[in-house]
Every structure is written in structure tokens, then in C-alpha cells.
């Protein structure tokens, strides 16, 4: 395939890269004054990239996907669906940022540019069909993320979060690289397809260690147990819009990437990876549920909630079937809506001086001072707990359905029983909001953009979301089918 055609296929990434470079120049010359403009233009760039993505995906000649740059990169329904979700999450992360940073002092335009760079990296991650593309995409995303985590450099917690993320992230990257090198050594190629062909039959110890190390590195990126330790600290320390971003877009990218690596590169080694994924899934669900119970900080709580939710997504992945991958993608969509909604609600937690509040106790009695916000918060919490009729239930329903269809009944039963433990801390938040006497700390008026976003996301998560199933299911099914 010639280079022109390849460039054509990576059009969204090219477009985003060029836009972010231009915006970087604007930011460099314009300084802080240009922050708002750069943010708006970044959102527009992401929107443009989404349009390009859809145009590409709907072209008849690329219906079954196409490979670019000698099988380094693949444009297919799976990557397009994941990228669309990533761009959407990134746009929301851009929308909620200005107000937060302005309240704390300065809003610098680099925030938006960094998010764009991260999106380029994430786009490459989900489309990677080669270990090298994978690593470059992952690092591009991670480097942007380290800077974003410490974006308020005057804040000790933010700097700490950035440093912690960087050190642990570097360790994970090291493990990943070591794993890749082992796999390369035994398979003789970094291409997923070739690895998949070469490593067939029983795995010898060498590539097995390689597989374990690759999965460990990826587990760090999706913050699955036992590589989750950084998550609560980083989510707590990072500025709230950045935490919202971390919990949504990079999670989608990392989970999608993991699915692609497992299915395309190690598809023939089910017995080797399945037990790892099953363990990681159950451990994430249980630890995410148990460790969240004692948390007093809402951002830490949401961090554990994201660990918990990743566990459920991995149940879909653990099945290794198209149905399971489709369920995982569906879960990701609902998860992004729920988690972004919760973080926007957290953004609304401000005292009358505009200082952000983060403790659970400041939520007390919110239902009497801000009934709308309280209702939305409760909807997100019940939905994260997977209580019907909220839409979060449907995500869980699909992954368990896939697990049952794949004959993994014990996994389904343990997973679903553990979800009850998780329900405890979600309803604890609802209890604080609805049953306790008002603390009256949270200021009684909301922000227009944030309120609009909360309403929109809450509507999607509400039972009305079920009406979207007939539209979403074919997309996730097509995405999953393109991996096999």
C-alpha cells in the first residue's frame, strides 16, 4: 500500500497533529489571553477529526477496514468506534476545564494542546497493529498525561500526582518494552498478525513471560489490580478536569488497545491469557469495591470506582468472543458517560469563594440545597452500581451475558455477587446526599455549561438510554467483529 493511501487512512491523526501544532504556536505567542480561543479551536479540531473518522468509516472501499504503513496501523470499525468515544470524552474534558482553572488562578492554553496530543496518541493506540505503533501511541499519550496531572504546578498535590504518575508509568513502560522485546525475540516480528501466526501451539516459557509482562504494562495503563496503586493518588491530586479526562478517554484507549493485543496478537493463546484476565478482572472488581468503602474523598472514591468498573469490562474481554468484545465496548460507552457525569458533578462542588470541595461530608444534604444536582449525582451513583432501570445496568448485563454465553458461569456469578459489595459505597454517597442534614457548604448556584453537561449525561444514563440500544448495539457489534 502506497504512502498516499496510508496517509489517507490516518487522516484523523494527521489532522489532529497539524491542528495541535498550529494551536501550540498560537498558545506560545498568544499566552494566557488565547486560552479560551485555543480551547474552542481544540474542541473544533476534535470535532473535525470525529467527522473525518465517520467519513472514513462510511467509505464503501474501507468497509472491512484497511491497513496502513505496511501493517503498522489499521483503520477498522473497532478503532473508529473507540476513537469516536475518545474524542467525545476529550471534548467534554475541554468544556469543563476553563472555569475550574480560572477559579484557581490561571488557565493556560497548553491544557487544550496537551489534550490534543494525548488524543493523537490514543488514536494510534487503538489502531495499532504493531508493537512499535502501540508503544509510540502509548508514550505520546502518557507523556501528555504526566504533564496534565501536574498542570497546576504551584499545587503540591498536583505536582506529587504528576511525579508519582511519571515514575510508576515509566516502570510500567519498562515492563511493557521488556515484554515486547521478549515476544519479538521469540516471534521474530513486532506485527500482531505475525506474532499471532508464529506463536501457535503451546507457549514456551520465554514468550509466556513476554506475554505476562506485556499484559502487566497494559494493566497499569487501564489501572487494573494489581497495578492500580497510582490511580487513587493521581485522581485525587490532579486537577478535577484532568481526573475526569484520565478516567474517561485514556481508559477507553487502553482497554481497547488491550483487547486488540489480546485478540490479534495472542488470539491463539487463549489458555495463556485468559486466566490472567479473569484474575485481574475479579481482583479489580473486589478490590475496587472493598477499598472504596473507607474513602472520605470523592475523587479517590471515583478512582476506586473506575478500578471496579474496569474489572467488569475485563469480564467481557476475558470471554475472548466477539460478543464479549462487543459487550466491553458497550460498557465503555456507558462507563464514560457515567464517570464523566460524576466528575462534572464533583466540579460543581464549590464553596462560596469558588474553592473546590472534595470531601464526601461536604455533599451532606445536597438534595435540599441543589435538588437537580443531587438527583443527577444519585442517578450516576445508582448507575455505576448497576441498579436497573439505569443504563449502567445494561453495560453489566451485556458483559455477564457474554460470560454466560462463553460458558464462564463461575466468573459471572462471582463477578455479579461482588458487584453487590460495590453497591454499598455507591448507595453510601446517595445516603449522604439524600438522608443527611445539609452541610450547606456547596454554593447554591451552578454553572451553565456544567449543568447542561450534567443534564445531558444524566439523561443518557437514565432509563431513556435504553432507547439508544438499537442504535449502539450494531456499532459495537461491528467493532467487535472487525477484530476477528
Amino acid at each position: 500500500m502506497d504512502i498516499g493511501n496510508s496517509l489517507y487512512l490516518v487522516a484523523p491523526e494527521v489532522f489532529l497533529t497539524v491542528s495541535s501544532l498550529i494551536l501550540l504556536l498560537i498558545a506560545a505567542w498568544g499566552g494566557e489571553k488565547s486560552a479560551r480561543l485555543v480551547t474552542i479551536l481544540s474542541a473544533a479540531a476534535l470535532f473535525g477529526a470525529s467527522v473525518l473518522l465517520m467519513v472514513l468509516a462510511h467509505m464503501p472501499e474501507f468497509k472491512d477496514g484497511a491497513s496502513a504503513f505496511s501493517d503498522q496501523y489499521r483503520m477498522d470499525a473497532f478503532g473508529s468506534a473507540a476513537k469516536f468515544l475518545i474524542y467525545l470524552a476529550a471534548i467534554i474534558s475541554l468544556m469543563i476545564a476553563p472555569r475550574f482553572f480560572q477559579a484557581g488562578g490561571k488557565y493556560r492554553p497548553e491544557y487544550a494542546v496537551l489534550i490534543l496530543f494525548a488524543c493523537v496518541g490514543m488514536g494510534m493506540m487503538v489502531s495499532a497493529t504493531d508493537m512499535m505503533t502501540l508503544y509510540i501511541g502509548l508514550e505520546l499519550n502518557s507523556l501528555s498525561a504526566y504533564v496534565l496531572a501536574s498542570f497546576i504546578r504551584t499545587d503540591v498535590r498536583s505536582s506529587e500526582a504528576g511525579l508519582k504518575y511519571f515514575v510508576l508509568g515509566a516502570l510500567a513502560s519498562g515492563m511493557l518494552l521488556f515484554g515486547i522485546s521478549l515476544v519479538y525475540g521469540f516471534a521474530g516480528s513486532t506485527s500482531f498478525a505475525v506474532i499471532g501466526e508464529t506463536l501457535s501451539g503451546d507457549l514456551s516459557t520465554g514468550p509466556l513471560i513476554g506475554l505476562v509482562l506485556v499484559l502487566s504494562g497494559l494493566a497499569f495503563k487501564i489501572s487494573a489490580v494489581p497495578f492500580h496503586m497510582w490511580t487513587p493518588d493521581v485522581y485525587e491530586g490532579a486537577p478535577t478536569p484532568v481526573s475526569a479526562f484520565f478516567a474517561s478517554a485514556p481508559k477507553v484507549a487502553a482497554v481497547a488497545l488491550t483487547a486488540r493485543v489480546i485478540i490479534e496478537a495472542f488470539g491463539g493463546q487463549t489458555s495463556a491469557w485468559q486466566q490472567i484476565i479473569v484474575f485481574v478482572a475479579l481482583a479489580s472488581i473486589i478490590l475496587g469495591a472493598v477499598a472504596a468503602i473507607g474513602q472520605q474523598n470523592i475523587k479517590r472514591l471515583l478512582a476506586y470506582s473506575s478500578i471496579n468498573n474496569v474489572g467488569f469490562m475485563l469480564i467481557g474481554l476475558a470471554t475472548g468472543t466477539a460478543q464479549g468484545i462487543s459487550a466491553m465496548m458497550f460498557y465503555l460507552v456507558v462507563y464514560v458517560a457515567m464517570t464523566l457525569g460524576s466528575f462534572v458533578c464533583v466540579l460543581e462542588m464549590r464553596d462560596k469563594d469558588g474553592k473546590p470541595l472534595e470531601s464526601l461530608s461536604s455533599l451532606a444534604g445536597l438534595s435540599q440545597t441543589r435538588p437537580g444536582l443531587a438527583a443527577a449525582f444519585a442517578v450516576f451513583m445508582f448507575s455505576l452500581a448497576g441498579i436497573p432501570p439505569l443504563f449502567g445496568f445494561w453495560g453489566k448485563f451485556l458483559v455477564f451475558d457474554a460470560a454466560v454465553a462463553a460458558g464462564m458461569l463461575p466468573l459471572a456469578v462471582i463477578g455479579i455477587a461482588a458487584s453487590v459489595i460495590g453497591a454499598f459505597y455507591y448507595i453510601k454517597v446517595v445516603k449522604i446526599i439524600y438522608f443527611d442534614d445539609p452541610a450547606g457548604e456547596i454554593v447554591a448556584t451552578g454553572h451553565k455549561t456544567e449543568n447542561g453537561l450534567i443534564a445531558l449525561l444524566a439523561l443518557f444514563v437514565s432509563p431513556l438510554g435504553y432507547l439508544a440500544i438499537p442504535f449502539m448495539a450494531p456499532i459495537t457489534d461491528a467493532a467487535a467483529a472487525s477484530l476477528f
Binding site: F393, V413, V420, K431, Y466
Partner: protein, 512 residues
């Protein structure tokens, strides 16, 4: 579409949903009136439903179906059993709203919204014809009930609401896995189809246990009942009424709709479990009720005992037992609801549920004493009241299967008379010793209007049960025919007596 050419069941779910949303934005008085009018309109629709129900017609009536959600359908339809349970729901709801008219003063809009939402879900559970739709509506009830107990409940409401929520959730999630398996196996989530699908008996065992986990908690059966007294005691009066009146019936309905017809072999296999737990429940919870100092707790324990009669009747595998169980469910819905209202009436005056704080109410509250007496008798199962019909039939059905279990179950009736009469004596009879009790006024017109309709319904069901038996006869017949292949052999081996004093000649003579 159906006999009314109109999706009446969807309307009955849509209307309260809409009203619930509007209630959130109204002030207290407007919300009360809107809720009352909505529930009364729904009661009217319920009457239309019953009046147009074609007894002896097709098994599923008012059927509607729309593939809104892709993977599962918005499928509604009712048989006679569902129809009566829906009637019970729409009958009790206006009474619940009325009971909360004065006792709820904070966040009235949200309160009414929660109750209306609850009504949507209860009607939906009884009308759902799709397995997953059923599950969603069944589980969704946790959210409003959690809020009702937690926001408007008593002193220890937080603990009670947690316990209610987590207990019932844990019971239900396992059922979901079983449902997923069933739908994979049968290839459809349509309940009427599944009712006639024969699952492999080996698989039935596990499926039955998974459903049992959910329904036994919801019912509740001993030893899974501990959430119930807490929830009842802490819930506001109307919450208790709806909990005892309708929510507990979901467990019995589940056994009736799913466990028995879908897994007949497994049901037979686990009959010892059901009988064992129910026997313990009947005797043990009755004894516990006998020593309670808190009125609501006493009635809560009596609910557990009555529900045990329901499970015994259902698993008798014969017509009498099952019809009796259904009537007990309806009767208990009315009677326990009414009893909680009776407790609510005096609680509103004295703000205590402690039995010893009362006494002699027959002297200064004669109207109250008469109605309370009627409901006490109905709870005991006195002939002429609804309680008698159901309990008698259940025990007759049970007797055909196992005389010993029947013997134990019957002691429950005696103990029931014990604790209810004891309660009544301590509350209504004796001297008026407490000054504050002496000052309590008799029933107001509002309270009279709440209790009188229930009293009428209780008497109606007791005197002319045919009105309630006719709609369910065909459905119970279909159910009995379905599970007949697994029906246990009774332990009473009746033998025809040998005819005596008939000579050979006479026999031959007649034969010729």
C-alpha cells in the same frame, strides 16, 4: 391488539411516571393532590381492566409488544393472577397517598414522586411478559424504596435502608445470571414461551436455586427475613403498607410465575426445603411475634408467618393449594396494609409504637376499635373475612400432600390468633390509664375514608370469594396441568372401603 384496542397497560405505567416527574416540581399541597388524583385515575383504569377482563378467554390478555430496545422487548400482558395483583396495587396506592397526607411534611414532592414511581414499577412487574423487562422493573423498586425508608423513615432509618437494599440486591443478582442462561438455552426472553419450555432437569436445579435466592429474600422466607422487621419499623406508614401489601407479593408472584411452571422437576426436588423453611417460619416467627413490644415489628413478623402459608400452598402442586396461596397473598395485602394503617393512626397521635403505652382505646376510640377488630380477625383468619378463605384452601391443598406439614402449619393459625388477640387486648381493652391516651380523638373522616374501603374489600373477599377466584381459575388450571408431571405423591393413601354384604348372585344378576 387487545380487547380495548388501546395499550391500557402502557398507559397505566406512563401516567404515574409522568405525574411523578411533575410532582418533583410542585409545592407540597399541589403534589399531594396530583398524586391522589393520579392514583385514583389509575384505580379507575384498574376497574376498567377488571371489567373488560374476559374470564375463560385467552390466557394472556391486553397483550402489547414493541421491540423498542433491540435485545429485549417492551412486552406487557396479564393473566388473571397478574390482574388481581395489579388491582391490589392500584387499590392500595390512593390509600397510601391518603395515609401520608398529614404525616409527611418534609419534601412532599419527592415523596409523592417516589410513590408514583413505585406504582409504575409494581404494575410493570406484574404485567411484564419479557424476562429482562421483568428483571429491570423488579430490581428498580429498590431505588424508590431505599429513598422512602432513608429519607422519611424513623430514627434508625439509615441502617434499615442499607439492609433492605443490599439484602434484596444480593438475592436478585444471582437470579440475573440464571435468566441469562435460560435465555441462551431457550433462545427467547418471552415469558409465555418460556413457561412451556422444558429445561433440562439437571440445569433446573441450579436455575431454581438462583430464583429461590431472589424470591426467598423478597418473600421473605425464614431465615432470609431479617431485613423485613427493620425495614417495616423504620419506614413511614405508607411505606410499610406498600412494602407489606405489594412488594412482598412479588416474591410469591415470582414463585408462581417462574419457579413452578419453568422448573417443575426442580420444584418437586426442593419441596422439602420449602416445606422445612415454611414450617419453621410459621411456628418460629409466630412465637417471635408473640413477645414483641413494638406494634409494627409484631405485624412484620406476622407477615413472615403468613407468607409461609403462601409458600406451603404454592408448593402443594394442586389447585386448592395454589388458589389458596393466591387468595392469601391478596388477603394479606389488604389486611397487613390495613393493620399498618391502624398502627399509623395511633402513632400519629402519640408518636410511639410501644404496645404498653396504649390500652383502653375501645373506650375513647370506638370506631377505631371496631375496624381494628375487623382487621385483627381477618389476620387470624376468621370465617367471613378474606383471611379464612385463603388459609383454608391452602391448608386443604397442603393436606393432600403432607399431613404432618399441615399439622405444623395449622398451629401457625392458632399462634396467629394468640399474638393478634393479645395485641388487640393490650391496645384496645383494659382501663384508660394513660392521660395522653385518654386525650386521643377517634378516627377523623380522612382516616375513616382510608380504612373503610379496605374493610369492605376484606368482607367482600371473605363472603363472596368467587369474584376473586373466577379470574384465576383458568390460569391455575393451566399451571396445575403444567406441573402435574412432577407433582409429589401425597402421604395420605386413601383406600376405598371394601363393599360388604353383596352376594355373588346379586352382582351377576345385575351384570346380566
Amino acid at each position: 391488539m387487545n380487547q380495548l384496542d388501546f395499550p391500557i397497560l402502557s398507559l397505566m405505567m406512563g401516567l404515574p411516571m409522568l405525574a411523578a416527574i411533575i410532582c418533583l416540581f410542585l409545592n407540597a399541597q399541589a403534589a399531594r393532590w396530583l398524586a391522589l388524583v393520579t392514583t385514583l385515575v389509575l384505580f379507575g383504569l384498574g376497574v376498567v381492566l377488571w371489567a373488560n377482563y374476559d374470564i375463560g378467554g385467552p390466557q394472556w390478555q391486553y397483550v402489547e409488544r414493541s421491540d423498542l430496545f433491540g435485545s429485549f422487548a417492551w412486552a406487557l400482558g396479564i393473566d388473571g393472577i397478574s390482574m388481581l395483583l395489579i388491582m391490589l396495587t392500584v387499590f392500595l396506592m390512593p390509600i397510601c397517598i391518603g395515609a401520608s397526607w398529614e404525616s409527611i411534611q418534609t419534601r412532599v414532592g419527592e415523596y409523592m414522586a417516589a410513590f408514583l414511581f413505585m406504582e409504575v414499577l409494581m404494575i410493570g412487574v406484574f404485567a411484564a411478559q419479557d424476562l429482562f423487562l421483568f428483571y429491570i422493573l423488579f430490581e428498580a423498586g429498590l431505588i424508590p424504596m431505599y429513598l422512602i425508608i432513608g429519607i422519611w423513615g424513623g430514627a434508625n432509618r439509615i441502617y434499615a435502608s442499607y439492609k433492605f437494599f443490599l439484602y434484596t440486591l444480593l438475592g436478585s443478582v444471582v437470579m440475573l445470571v440464571a435468566m441469562l442462561w435460560m435465555v441462551q438455552d431457550a433462545g427467547t426472553s418471552d415469558i409465555p414461551t418460556l413457561l412451556n419450555y422444558d429445561f433440562d432437569p439437571a440445569a433446573q436445579t441450579w436455575l431454581w436455586l438462583a430464583f429461590f435466592a431472589s424470591f426467598a429474600v423478597k418473600m421473605p422466607m425464614w431465615p432470609f427475613h431479617t431485613w423485613l422487621p427493620d425495614a417495616h419499623v423504620q419506614a413511614p406508614t405508607a411505606g410499610s403498607v406498600i412494602l407489606a401489601g405489594v412488594l412482598l407479593k412479588m416474591g410469591g408472584y415470582g414463585f408462581l410465575r417462574f419457579s413452578l411452571p419453568m422448573f417443575p422437576e426442580a420444584s418437586e426436588q426442593f419441596i422439602w426445603l420449602i416445606f422445612g423453611l415454611s414450617m419453621v417460619a410459621v411456628v418460629y416467627t409466630s412465637l417471635v411475634a408473640l413477645v414483641q413490644q413494638d406494634m409494627k415489628k409484631l405485624i412484620a413478623y406476622s407477615s413472615v408467618a403468613h407468607m409461609a402459608i403462601v409458600t406451603l400452598g404454592l408448593f402443594a402442586f394442586n389447585r386448592q393449594g395454589i388458589e389458596g396461596a393466591i387468595i392469601v397473598m391478596l388477603s394479606h395485602g389488604l389486611v397487613s396494609g390495613a393493620l399498618f394503617l391502624c398502627v399509623g393512626v395511633i402513632y400519629d397521635r402519640l408518636h410511639t409504637r410501644e404496645i404498653d403505652r396504649y390500652g383502653g382505646l375501645a373506650i375513647n376510640m370506638p370506631k377505631y376499635a371496631i375496624l381494628f377488630m375487623l382487621f385483627t380477625m381477618a389476620s387470624i383468619g376468621l370465617p367471613g373475612t378474606s383471611g379464612f378463605v385463603g388459609e383454608f384452601l391452602s391448608l386443604v391443598g397442603l393436606y393432600k400432600v403432607n399431613s404432618w406439614v399441615t399439622l405444623v402449619a395449622t398451629t401457625g393459625i392458632i399462634l396467629g390468633a394468640g399474638y393478634m388477640l393479645y395485641l388487640y387486648r393490650r391496645v384496645a381493652f383494659g382501663e384508660l390509664v394513660h392521660e395522653d391516651v385518654k386525650a386521643m380523638p377517634d378516627l377523623s373522616a380522612r382516616e375513616m375514608a382510608l380504612l373503610a374501603p379496605i374493610a369492605a374489600a376484606v368482607m367482600w373477599m371473605g363472603v363472596y370469594p368467587e369474584s376473586f377466584m373466577a379470574p384465576i381459575r383458568g390460569d391455575v388450571g393451566a399451571l396445575v396441568a403444567r406441573i402435574d408431571r412432577a407433582a409429589p405423591e401425597g402421604d395420605a393413601h386413601l383406600k376405598m372401603g371394601e363393599a360388604k354384604a353383596v352376594t355373588q348372585d346379586e352382582v351377576h344378576g345385575e351384570a346380566h
